[in-house]
Amino acid sequence: MVTIVDRRLNPPGKHEGNRQKFLDRARGQVQDAVRRSVSERDLKDVGRDERVKVRSKDVSEPGLTKDPRTGTHRGVFPGNKQFQEGDREPKPPQGGATGGHDGPDSLDEFEFTLTRDEFLEFLFEDLELPDFVKRSMNVTDDWSHSRAGFTNDGSPANLSVVRTYKRSIGRRRALHRPTDEEVAELEALIPGEDDPEERARLEGLLEELQARQRVVPFIDDTDLRYNYYEDRPNPSTQAVMFCLMDVSGSMGEREKDIAKRFFLLLYLFLEKKYDRVDVRFVRHTTTAEEVDEKTFFYDRLTGGTRISSGLELIAKIVRDEYPVSDWNVYVAQCTDGDSFGDDNQECRKIIIDELQKRVQYYAYVQIESQFGSMYPFAAPNYIPPVSGAWPLFEQLAEEFDNVECRKVSDQNQVWSVFSSLFQRKRP
């Protein structure tokens, strides 16, 4: 008889500890590799099958080994075809080992694949959506009733029987109140007692005990204890993120690509980190429309630029669907800032009146075009005017805590801008 065991039924992941330790060790390098890939890879491939190359240095396993490039060696080989004793063969130039090769992995680098989850974890390790706690307490009506210890006073419904009883025991002991058992015992003795003197004594004792019982109450007012409840505000854990992208003509392919990378990062980030985040996609030219994810990232559209149209639409959606008391609202906007001049007033009005006080965080990202956008055939020494939306948002960022603005000029900066916007703030 032999023992046969089917190990396939075992839960997987016995090597998890080792894998985790290895990833920890290579952590710094993995993070770099992961972040680089975000800028370099095709949008649709980001996160999928992420291959990471790790330099041997941190994960090398050195040993005292012989260097085959030194000394004299004697080797035996099979399959002699034409050699005779004493023959000489010239060596192949530089690095010619006879025959065998080591396999595909070189000594300097070690490559492996991360799972998508691990990839996202490394990517977003130190980031979070800011500020979940509501700014103004009186806006929220989401409180929770929770236990907060005991108190001496309260309503009978909140009486803590156990606690009260405990205190009464202590008091009764201290004041030497006889228990019912003691009294009953004594009572039982009396009828059996023939000696009249003894009987009288016992009866006297019994009376004393009973009197004492009457005087010291079983439960006194000072014993009473009541459960105490407190009202605590509940931080709202529902969040909605509005992604606002400018798809006007002034945003060229390059700019749209950068914007899309930014939003893709944002989307992955939210998906990974938070369970319940609604993501709404709004794109605008001179008018705004809400679209789904696929259209947002892949569809093409072009037109003029009116940022306020997008902001209006967002404000409307917030009013209609996301009561501020229940939801944390976030807005992230990507544009090249090249709107019609007077649109700024509109934008400012909408933001100050409606959005700013309702959102937890407003992130404005301006993508710099390489030349002036309205002037693709600009003269070489053309300096684009400092106009457009940037000054507006710069000012808003100064005025309000929960507005931030950043500039991005090329896709390698996307990551650093993103991480600076969502960096976890140390308390």
Partner: protein, 506 residues
């Protein structure tokens, strides 16, 4: 005789029947083996098992994670067919069977590993001397728990630091000439308690602190540590570097010494298998057993033509030996070499030629089974080849010797498979399988007591030096564990000339 199975699907019943048949063959061959346990695994588990060297329990370390990933990559790229089998040297002997194998494949594995490797582990002298199949798993359970406890108490980083350094010295953590003591998990725990008691005895009551800096007498360090005057090690140079550090390092704490001891014990356990010093004999023997078994099954009608054909296919791919100029060449295939030697000796016993009688006077015409027993029990690879490689085999495989002077621009084919060359070819092949061929001879020679610098010497016979950067890193590791400076020189054994030197002062 009814068939063990038909077709390629296997069930547990098939495994049972086939295993019985294998045991019968084992008895025919008069073999002795540990009770077997067969474990069915999928390729993912197989990868995990590879990564922890097949042990069902092992302490955690990032290098195992790396090994897993590396094998996973190789496997996915198709460079490495997962071995049909994996078996470990324990009692009971655990055999891992890949679930993708066919019925013939599983039968082959059971004969190869369950009877072949198993009997080798149980009877080969080197394994009997250096390993304890009965207690290794218990010891590893203890080791895993101890490492985890240390991680909790002292932090993962500190434990990793010690383990990393110890791992890099693992090839030099074995006593070549001393017989290891029997492992016992219970004894280890006793030692730990004693050590803790001694440690607490050093508690300084005046200051109310554990005085780490006071020199103290341990039973495990310092007894041979003479205070002044002598600088050479009293018992001669120490080849077991891990042992040296574990016992004599002035700075290590008890738990750190214990970790090093664990690495040392594991190294000792694996020592007959690492550096391939028994691979030819072991794989050769297992292949021979499975070859004999499958042929017997066919003779007795236990497997049909289809199964036999499948077996022959599998067998030929296992023992395939590409020529030196073939793209697929990667050295001598131990399966081929070992199996050929066994089969050749059988032939020499049963039907010797004149040449055989000349070269093998003690074996020619003798009992082949007795000879086989002698072959797999009493030899390791270098002696195995030296004793049993025949001129016929050298001719069949067309072996030749190449001398490579790294300073020269030419290779010299110094000997080929003819009368003049046989002895040298055999000696050269045997030498290439000796422990010294792959692992450099490095020993601690002395310690300077004023500076506490440790002096290591690497002796080389043929001018081969150590890999520079790796040696530097390893010396850093040694220095970290030793607590003081360390110097390593490479010296030619014949002339005494010093060729290279490395220093580290961590």
């Amino acid at each position: 005789m009814s068939l063990l199975y038909t077709g390629s699907e296997w069930t547990v019943d098939v495994l049972d029947r086939a295993y019985e048949a294998c045991e019968e063959v084992g008895r025919e061959l008069k073999l002795d083996w540990y009770p077997n346990s067969l474990e069915i695994v999928s390729f993912r588990e197989m990868l995990e098992i590879y990564a922890s060297h097949g042990m069902p329990v092992m302490y955690e370390h990032w290098s195992f994670g790396k090994s897993y990933l590396k094998n996973y990559n190789l496997y996915r790229k198709g460079y490495m067919g997962l071995a049909l089998e994996m078996v470990i040297n324990t009692n009971p002997c655990v055999n891992y069977l890949l679930d993708e194998n066919t019925a013939t494949g599983q039968t082959l594995v059971m004969a190869h590993a369950g009877i072949g490797h198993n009997s080798f582990f149980k009877n080969n002298y080197l394994f009997r001397e250096r390993t304890q199949a009965d207690s290794i798993v218990d010891y590893l359970v203890f080791a895993k728990r101890y490492v985890a406890q240390c991680e909790e108490r002292y932090g993962q980083a500190k434990v990793e630091a010690i383990l990393d350094c110890a791992h890099s010295l693992m090839n030099h953590g074995v006593d070549k000439y001393r017989k290891p003591k029997v492992l016992s998990a219970r004894e280890e725990e006793e030692r730990q308690k004693e050590r803790l008691a001694a440690h607490e005895a050093n508690y300084d009551e005046v200051w109310g602190i554990l005085d780490e800096t006071r020199p103290r007498v341990h039973s495990w360090a310092g007894r041979n540590f003479k205070p002044r005057g002598e600088t050479f090690l009293p018992n001669g140079p120490e080849e077991n570097l891990l042992y040296f550090i574990e016992k004599k390092s002035p700075i290590l704490k008890p738990w750190q010494r214990e970790l090093i001891r664990i690495v040392r014990k594991v190294a000792e356990y694996f020592s007959p298998q690492t550096a391939g010093i028994t691979q030819v004999a072991n794989e050769g023997w297992a292949t021979t057993v499975h070859y004999y078994a499958m042929n017997r099954f066919y003779e007795r009608g236990l497997i049909d033509d289809g199964a036999m054909l499948e077996f022959l296919n599998l067998h030929t791919s296992v023992v395939y030996q590409p020529a030196h100029d073939d793209k697929r060449y990667s050295g001598f295939n131990p399966y081929h070499l070992g199996h050929s030697i066994f089969m050749d000796m059988k032939r020499i016993c049963e039907d010797p030629t004149e040449e055989d009688r000349y070269w093998f006077p003690d074996y020619a015409g003798g009992d082949w089974l007795e000879t086989w027993h002698h072959m797999f029990k009493d030899y390791r690879d270098d002696s195995f080849i030296q004793q049993f490689l025949s001129p016929k085999l050298m001719r069949d495989m067309k072996m030749f010797v190449v001398d490579d002077d790294t300073d020269s621009t030419e290779y010299v084919i110094s000997k080929v498979h003819d009368e003049r060359g046989y002895r040298d070819v055999r000696k050269a092949l045997a030498d290439s399988k000796s422990p010294g061929a792959r692992i450099p001879d490095v020993q601690v020679h002395r310690v300077d007591f004023d500076s506490r610098t440790a002096y290591l010497v690497h002796h080389t016979d043929d001018g081969t030096c150590l890999n520079e950067d790796q040696a530097g890193e390893v010396m850093d590791n040694f220095s970290y564990l030793w607590g003081f400076g360390v110097e390593l020189i490479t010296r030619d054994r014949q002339t005494g000339a010093v060729i290279r030197g490395y220093e580290s002062n961590y």
